[in-house]
């Protein structure tokens, strides 16, 4: 009996973690950038580039993984009768938070999911990101305990909840039937990708499983501190362990803080970027992956958040806010990457915006219902 309840509680989430890890390894072997089998922030940035929302030539590709995740969630929610139109919980604030979660993630060079995948590849620079993510989550929990809330969402028609899944179908159509309308990188991370069918299937599998298991990278750490609940964290750890074992078996595990793929050594800014992403994710109620899943289930607020993140990616590259990877110059010198003054100012602005949104949504202020 106890065994059965353990399987019911942890079965889906562990399975999801393992599938995400294996999918990340397969996608990397099939052509995706190293330590980037799955990265919600990077892939939304590439989609922004493919649509011409920014002109950073190295990060433009319409990533089918994102399409698959949203549609996988929609299918799983439809089968389990959980697809419901919901909206109305401070959508404009969610859009703004989404923008800064993306800016923070791109300063670090990865969303919370890629952070774990980087750790699973032996990338020690991601430790600064993990610590920052944890710090941001603790700040978010501090305000949750004091009553922070973006307010209620309300039932809306299924048409409202179908907007993001519908947009994803349209994007898939553009990729397959009208690629000449899109931009494709010829070099850099955007040019590295698996065959679209593999990416789409991996996305569908991860989207469906994450919908069933409620996988959330921010929720994993949040629930441990807030509720002493380790269920979501087990998914987070399952990804980490699976990717680590897979990389060890494939000979692609490199334990080092130098020369890691698409990563930089400005540790303070990795920490602060992920702190911004972590705090924002707690205010939103879930990490970037979870926002895609919720949008797939019919949540219009999460759809707006995803659009905010895509705009955030465009802003990051149009204003030079995103991190640059460490590199080796022609003469063999190791060049530290990271962000410039504009990126630093954007992170500071992000903290100010999150603080303002937080303070405006505490009890005793203007009451949200």
């Amino acid at each position: 009996m106890r065994e059965k309840s353990w399987i019911r509680e942890y079965g889906w989430i562990l399975l999801t973690g393992v599938v995400v890890g294996v999918a990340a390894l397969i996608l990397t072997s099939a052509g995706n950038p190293k330590n980037m089998g799955f990265c919600i922030a990077c892939f939304e940035r590439d989609i922004a580039g493919a649509l011409g929302m920014h002109s950073a030539g190295k990060v433009q590709y319409l990533r089918p993984e994102i399409i698959g995740i949203v549609l996988g969630s929609t299918l799983a929610a439809a089968v389990s009768k959980e697809f419901r139109g919901r909206a109305g919980s401070s959508p404009a604030c969610r859009f703004a938070i989404g923008v800064f979660v993306m800016i923070g993630a791109l300063v670090f060079l990865g969303c919370p999911l890629r952070m774990v995948i980087r750790l699973g590849g032996g990338d020690l620079t991601a430790v600064a990101g993990l610590l920052g993510f944890l710090a941001g989550i603790l700040v978010g929990i501090f305000f949750l305990r004091r009553g922070f809330s973006l307010g209620r969402a309300y039932p809306v028609r299924k048409g409202e909840g179908s907007i993001l899944p519908g947009m994803m179908i349209l994007l898939l159509f553009l990729l397959l039937a009208a690629p000449s309308l899109l931009r494709f990188s010829e070099e850099g991370p955007g040019s590295m990708h698996a065959f679209w069918g593999i990416s789409l299937i991996a996305g569908l599998a991860v989207g469906a499983l994450a919908q069933r298991s409620r996988l959330c990278m921010a929720g994993g750490l949040r629930d441990v501190f807030l509720l002493r609940d380790f269920r979501l964290l087990s998914g987070f750890l399952a990804i980490w362990i699976t990717v680590t074992i897979g990389n060890l078996l494939l000979g692609s595990y490199h334990l080092s803080a130098l020369s890691q793929p698409i990563a930089h050594s400005q540790h303070l800014w990795s920490f602060l970027g992920m702190a911004l992403a972590g705090w924002g994710s707690i205010l939103l109620g879930g990490c970037p992956l979870r926002q895609l899943i919720l949008a797939g289930e019919g949540n219009g607020d999460s759809a707006v958040t995803v659009l905010g993140m895509i705009v955030g990616a465009a802003v990051s590259h149009n204003f030079g806010l995103a991190g640059a990877a460490d590199s080796v110059a022609a003469d063999g010198t190791y060049v530290i990457g990271g962000i410039g003054t504009a990126g630093m100012a954007a992170v500071a602005l992000g903290f100010a915006v999150l603080l303002a949104v937080t303070l405006a949504h505490l009890p005793g202020k203007e009451e949200a219902i």
Binding site: E9, S80, E82, R84, R86, G88, S89, L144, R145, S149, L150, G151, R152, A153, Y154, P155, R214, C216, G219, R222, D223, L226, L227, R228, D229, R231, L284, G285, G286, D301
Partner: protein, 67 residues
């Protein structure tokens, strides 16, 4: 009755947690509108020694927590 309908994760659980920590009531009714909230509250309630009964009410779910 705690009306946690429409609040995003993890607010429904926090609302229940606050009520439990404040008064440790023998019984508590909660109204939510999402399956994920049902699961989260049930898991928390079990960890606090409550039995949980879930009843669908239209689009919503009513949870009765009892010690």
């Amino acid at each position: 009755m705690i009306d946690a309908r429409g609040f995003s994760c993890p607010l429904p659980v926090i609302m229940v947690q606050k009520a439990v920590q404040k008064d440790s009531p023998a019984s508590l009714a909660v109204l939510v509108d999402a399956q994920v909230a049902v699961e989260n509250i049930t898991r928390y309630a079990h960890s606090q020694g409550y039995q949980v009964q879930v009843t669908p009410e239209g689009r919503d779910f009513k949870l009765i927590l009892e010690k």
